[in-house]
Amino acid sequence: MRAFKEFSKGFWRENPSLVLLLGMCPTLAVTTSAFNGLGMGLATTAVLIGSNIIISLIAGFIPKKVRIPAYIVVIATLVTLVDMFMAAYSPDLHSALGLFIPLIVVNCIILGRAEAFASRNNVIYSFLDGIGMGIGFAVTLFIVGSVREVLGNGTLTVFQYKETIIQYVIYHKEAVSPALVFILAPGAFITLGFLLALKNYIDNLLKAK
């Protein structure tokens, strides 16, 4: 089943952050809490699905020499739209992600999928590829964010919209002082490094079988 394969490859086999190592900037910068990671992942997914669909539709009409500017215009438009709607309806998340929303434009995942996949495949496969890659990216960011938030702040924020906030307290800051470094930039690198190692370790175990 090709459709399923295109959909599922982003989860593990071609996971954008853990295998392709694309989109490192948001992976490291905004994952200070689980929900920030998830929000960034979902915003990227929305842009990715949109850009994959549009680009697979228009790729046939675009002369080869101007394809990159054309793709960038499409992606930038989608990102700006996401940015505006997020500012209007989820300002907390918008202020937490801040500068990194506009930076989705230069996220390698999106241009990479547009160039490597969407421009060569039909709309349905491109759509599935966008969802799969987007979910793979969002889940990875969520995991990185969870590890960092639990180690660095002692909490796990799963959901946050307006007045509703679902946050679990893993341990109390008074009893165990959290390792602040994980909320800061170095912690992001350490967490990502250990996650990459874990992923490769599991792959080796599966191969050995």
Partner: protein
């Protein structure tokens, strides 16, 4: 006819009997005076910190070697013990056991074994562990208990002291300068810094004289060369002298910068680490100047009161480049000329 076997090998053919193990234990020996002084100043607390950091460094080394399918007995070669001991010496005497164990973990696993073990780590493991802890737990890592003998002080170096559970804590001399140079400077005596019995600070950094004794021992035994420590300390001294000359009320005199904080332990024992420092004399001098420059810049104008750990780690990153560009030309060699 008798048969003889000849061994054919590359030079050098003469070995002086030294080994990694011997070197590491020698450096540890050189650190002992500082450790003894700290036990006098901080009591059993410093024994606890040093023991835990050393023990767990060896433990994590063995664990990592096992995971990497190596001979786990290599953990007793002294390098892990030295890393743990150095880490312990850079911690404040009051830190909790969990923090010490985490520091040993980061030093051995994250900074050393992940990169391939002894000889492959780009950054000094003990300092990586310390900086990790400093960023992760800024409050316990900057809480300095007063040494024995001045426990009752309400004011120390012109600044108020705080009572934390059972111990009275105060700022280190460098932190006091950062906060209120005008108030603290007249209250700090250089001889206190030199002997280190009456100043708060990390376990191993309080006594300049004990560290100098150890450093000179290393120089005499030719375990380290003079290039890095001398160039680092001289750089700090010169810049401190210039700034002190410009504004004596705000910038302390050069001997203060020499004896306060971790400059001596850093310059003699950490910047000279074989694995992470350059090999060639010229490279070593540039490395030392860089360490000194970064240290004094962070101390005088940076966000942290002490900058030696950051300085050494940043300069560690330049080591491969320095090694590449400072290769000395062999004796008697000439630059090649195109025959005319």
């Amino acid at each position: 006819m008798e048969t003889r076997t000849f061994k054919v090998s590359y030079s050098p053919h003469i070995h002086n009997g030294s080994s990694t193990s011997k070197l590491m234990w020698n450096v540890t020996l050189a650190l002992l005076p500082a450790a003894v002084i700290s036990v006098y100043a901080f009591g059993l607390n410093s024994v606890r910190v040093l023991f835990l950091s050393t023990f767990f460094a060896i433990f994590f080394e063995a664990l990592a070697l096992l995971m990497r399918n190596r001979n786990w007995k290599q953990c007793f070669d002294g390098s892990a013990a030295l890393t743990g001991f150095l880490l312990g010496l850079t911690l404040p005497p009051g830190v909790s056991n969990g923090i010490i164990i985490l520091g040993s973990f980061v030093a051995i696993i994250v900074a050393k074994q992940v990169f391939g073990g002894l000889g492959s780590n780009p950054f000094n493991p003990a300092l990586t562990g310390r900086v990790f802890l400093l960023i992760a737990f800024p409050v316990p890592m900057t809480t300095w208990p007063l040494p024995r003998g001045i426990e009752q002080a309400k004011q120390f170096m012109g600044l108020a002291t705080t009572k934390v559970t059972d111990a009275v804590t105060a700022a280190t001399p460098l932190a006091a300068i950062k906060e209120h140079a005008e108030k603290a400077l007249p209250n700090i005596s250089t001889s206190d810094l030199f002997f280190g019995l009456h100043t708060p600070g990390s376990i191993g950094e309080i006594s300049a004289i004990a560290l100098l004794v150890g450093g000179i021992y290393l120089l005499v035994r030719k375990i380290i060369t003079w290039h890095i420590p001398v160039s680092a300390i001289l750089t700090v001294f010169v810049i401190a002298m210039i700034t002190h000359f410009i504004n004596p009320a705000k910038y302390p005199h050069p001997f203060f910068h020499l004896f306060a904080g971790g400059l001596i332990i850093g310059a003699f024992f950490m910047a000279t680490d074989y694995v992470t420092a350059p090999i060639w004399p010229m490279g070593k001098i540039i490395f030392g100047i860089g360490v000194g420059l970064l240290t004094i810049i962070i101390r005088l104008w940076g966000g942290y009161p002490e900058g030696i750990s950051f300085a050494i780690l940043i300069m560690n990153a330049t080591t491969p480049l320095l090694d590449k560009y400072t290769v000395p030309s062999p004796f008697g060699s000439k630059t090649m000329r195109r025959p005319s």
